[in-house]
């Protein structure tokens, strides 16, 4: 089966991931249409990263099915991965490479020839304002720079679907603006973006659809406007969805 034009970018059915006697993801069913900017939210330990790791093929699900771009995962994982751009956890970067070398490496892994990978790596470095320090190793990068280089690498093969784990974490305002513009441009050109983020303002501004996961279960999902409802901000809606409006308690001694 080839990638269907009308197939959703991401289709998850009854996905479960169990660690010991704890379900990190518990019966998750979710559909993300193609060309959608989707924000996947949840408190710490809710199951966001586990979900994205399963989508990336880094962790096998305990049960359930995943289809990306109309292809089943993990059966067609090679074809799927070829069309995906990843902004993974920053520990997945290679610290002893320079930013340019890492982007070139990723390009070559995705099948670009060496000259093209190098040329695109140089252009991406300039685009992400990392070109002024070509000899700096990723190990010496700040957190924001690491996220920028990861995103640059994710773009090099012009993927149709982006899976991003906290792409804006530690990125300064200028860098975040740049990254947002690039991502919106990708969506305008038909790409699908699935990102997790703690920065609700960013999600509110960028995403047209949002899903909220809590204790492994999807507790809310829909268009941004519907999700916000009567709440002033996405943050209010998020806290309300989790039932934690009055959770803040002060300690006697504090």
């Amino acid at each position: 089966m080839n990638q269907g034009d009308g197939a959703p970018a991401i289709e998850i059915r009854d996905l479960r991931k169990v660690y010991g006697d704890k379900a990190a993801v518990d019966g998750l069913t979710l559909t993300v249409p193609q060309g959608c900017f989707f924000g996947f939210l949840g408190p710490n330990g809710a199951g966001k990263t586990t979900t994205i790791k399963m989508l990336m093929g880094l962790a096998p699900p305990t049960s359930g099915t995943i289809q990306l771009l109309g292809l089943p995962m993990p059966e067609r994982s090679l074809e799927i991965k070829q069309q995906i751009g990843l902004v993974p956890d920053e520990s997945m970067l290679f610290d002893h490479l320079t930013g340019g070398e890492f982007i070139e490496f990723v390009g070559r892994i995705y099948g670009l020839d060496r000259a093209m990978a190098r040329a695109r790596a140089d252009e991406l470095l300039d685009l992400f304002e990392l070109g002024s320090m070509p000899k700096k190793l990723i190990a010496e990068y700040s957190k924001g720079m690491r996220k920028r280089v990861a995103m640059a690498a994710a773009l090099i093969h012009r993927p149709k679907l982006f899976l991003m784990d906290e792409p804006f974490e530690g990125v300064d305002a200028v860098g975040a603006r740049l990254m947002k513009d690039i991502l919106l441009d990708q969506v305008r050109h038909g790409a699908t973006i699935f990102l997790t983020s703690h920065v609700l303002e960013v999600v509110e501004r960028l995403c047209e659809r949002v899903g909220i996961i809590h204790e492994g279960k999807l507790i809310a999902e829909g268009l941004m406007a519907d999700m916000r409802g009567t709440a002033e901000t996405l943050e209010d809606a998020f806290v309300r969805a989790l039932g934690m409006e009055n959770a803040a308690e002060t300690l006697d001694w504090l």
């Binding site: 880094l58 096998p60 993974p88 290679f94 190990a139």
Partner: protein
């Protein structure tokens, strides 16, 4: 093999950037010396194998020699808890790289676990091809034997890697591996040079179904087709085994493997009591620092494995020399067995205790610079923790020696513990300096070491002789004066000098840490390339 090319290129760039520009010679020196020695050995094999007059000797020794090559390639890296270079699958699995390509690269990387044996086999093969009395197809036989070794190494490494990634059973698995690996040595010790069991494995009348016997027959020109069939069958079998193990490793989820029921995770009261011991003995913040070290080290798989090896592996490798003393050194081992094993255990433990004291908990290093605690106290906390675990290790060694009914007595106890104490003082002094000057991040969750910093290894080459010089002086004094009192007298003097050295080294380490904290934290925070080495 586009992906393979990219991975190799990225690794080359990683290595290039890893070496300090001004310290390349230091980093490369130990490797050059080590492999230079093996290259010399390979040349000697070339000379022997190319000489037609040596063919009768070759006929007798070749099967056993090939078995030793197999054992060195497969077992020695495991016994040293190091397995050469391997793909960092955690980072590569997310990319569209065909499993077949990853497997091929992994097989080739197994060469790094046995470069010494590749050198020896090269020397043997060239020699055999130059020898008119040996078969022309020696090259073919050697290549297939190398492939067999590489494939089985992949399978074993993957299987053990997964087992060692599982909490609770990893120490048990490693213990069994050590015992299995030590079996031939123990058989040799019990039955003399070649026991009946070993004869079936290594001599020229050994079973022809072994891969080393088949390779030997091919090189010697005996029974070409049956030998080739046997060797090929072994190689195909190991190919199937290693592919199976590799695909299981690709699908392995270490997070899932290390979770267990929440009921089972309830900590026993005695473990908590153990962790709280330092706080009972020392006031905070020192007590808190040591307690944190206790908790951290006890939970580190790498530390637990090395601790276990200290009183098992050390005993096992020295045991045959103690049971079957040969020559003057054999007698020395019998008389000083406890001392030798204690010192060996300390050397083993030094890697996880003080050569790189901040390597395991690199995030904590940053906290130490921020916290309102003097760095001297932090170092003291680490040293006291190391001291505790080393004393525990020596106590375990003594207990196991007693169980094995090794000759022990008050004099032997006193000698072993005094030597160990002096060695510890000097090792701590050097360790404090190296922990600051050669800090590097280490994954505490990784049971098997995949490599070591070349520069540190080079320094250890220089440090160990200096550290052991005071001990040597003490034994020379006993030899010269023929008196045990002379030994203890010099050891006492060594201890006083050692304490002064320790004080000076600690001051220097604290000063250096203050001056180089930025580069130290940066060095502790760096990771690896696509190939972990």
């Amino acid at each position: 093999m586009t992906c393979a090319g990219a991975i190799v290129w990225a690794q080359w760039r990683t290595l290039w950037h890893s070496y300090p520009r001004r310290g390349v010679a230091w980093s490369a020196a130990p490797s050059l010396i080590w492999y230079g020695l093996w290259a010399g050995a390979a040349f000697s094999f070339l000379r022997v194998f190319s000489n037609p007059a040596e063919v009768p000797v070759i006929r007798i020794a070749l099967p056993g020699g090939l078995l030793l090559i197999f054992l060195y390639w497969q077992v020695v890296p495991l016994m040293l808890a190091t397995t050469g270079s391997s793909l960092d699958l955690r980072k590569l699995r997310a990319y569209p790289i065909p499993d077949g390509q990853l497997f091929s690269i992994e097989v080739l990387l197994r060469i790094t676990a046995g470069i010494e044996m590749v050198l020896v086999l090269t020397g043997m093969t060239i020699g055999a091809m130059l020898n008119p009395a040996l078969a022309k197809w020696s090259l073919l036989a050697t290549l297939v034997y190398v492939a067999f070794n590489l494939l089985i190494a992949v399978g074993l490494r993957d299987m053990l890697g997964r087992l060692l990634a599982r909490k609770r059973i990893r120490e048990l698995v490693f213990f069994l591996v050590i015992l299995t690996a030590a079996l031939p040595q123990l058989l040799l010790a019990r039955h003399g040079m070649v026991s009946p069991q070993l004869r079936l494995l290594v001599t020229r009348d050994a079973w022809e179904g072994w891969p080393w016997t088949a390779t030997s027959n091919l090189i010697l020109g005996n029974r070409f087709w049956p030998s080739l069939a046997v060797l090929s069958a072994w190689t195909v079998g190991t190919l199937v085994f290693s592919r199976w193990q590799f695909s299981r490793t690709l699908a392995f989820d270490s997070d899932a493997a290390n979770t267990h029921d929440s009921r089972a995770s309830r900590r026993s009261w005695w473990i908590e009591w153990f962790y709280r011991l330092p706080s009972a003995a020392f006031k905070d913040p020192l007590g808190a620092l040591i307690e944190k070290e206790f908790r951290f080290l006890a939970r580190s798989p790498r530390f637990r494995l090395v601790f276990l090896m200290g009183f098992t592996f050390g005993l096992v490798i020295w045991l045959p020399m103690a049971f079957v003393p040969r020559g003057p050194l054999g007698g020395f081992f019998v008389r000083n067995y406890l001392t030798v094993v204690c010192v060996y255990s300390l050397m083993l433990m030094s890697e996880v205790c003080f050569w790189n004291a901040f390597g395991f908990d690199r995030s904590a290093a940053q906290f130490y610079f921020l916290a309102p605690v003097s760095f001297r106290r932090v170092m003291a906390g680490k040293n006291l923790t190391a001291l505790f675990f080393m004393l525990l290790e020596i106590a375990m060694v003594t207990a196991v020696c007693a169980l094995l009914r090794m000759p022990l007595g008050a004099r032997r106890f006193a000698e072993a513990y005094s030597v160990a104490a002096v060695v510890m003082i000097f090792l701590f002094s050097a360790g404090n300096l190296l922990s600051i000057r050669q800090a590097r991040g280490v994954d505490p969750g990784n049971s098997i070491r995949t490599g070591a910093a070349g520069r540190l290894q080079a320094m250890l080459f220089a440090i160990y002789p200096v550290t052991f010089a005071p001990i040597l002086l003490a034994y020379l004094a006993r030899y010269a004066f023929g008196s045990q009192a002379a030994l203890f007298g010099v050891l006492g003097l060594d201890a006083v000098v050692g304490l002064i050295v320790y004080r000076v080294a600690l001051d220097s380490a604290v000063r250096t840490a203050d001056l180089t904290r930025e580069s130290m934290i940066a060095a502790l925070s760096t990771g690896d390339g696509p190939i972990a080495n």
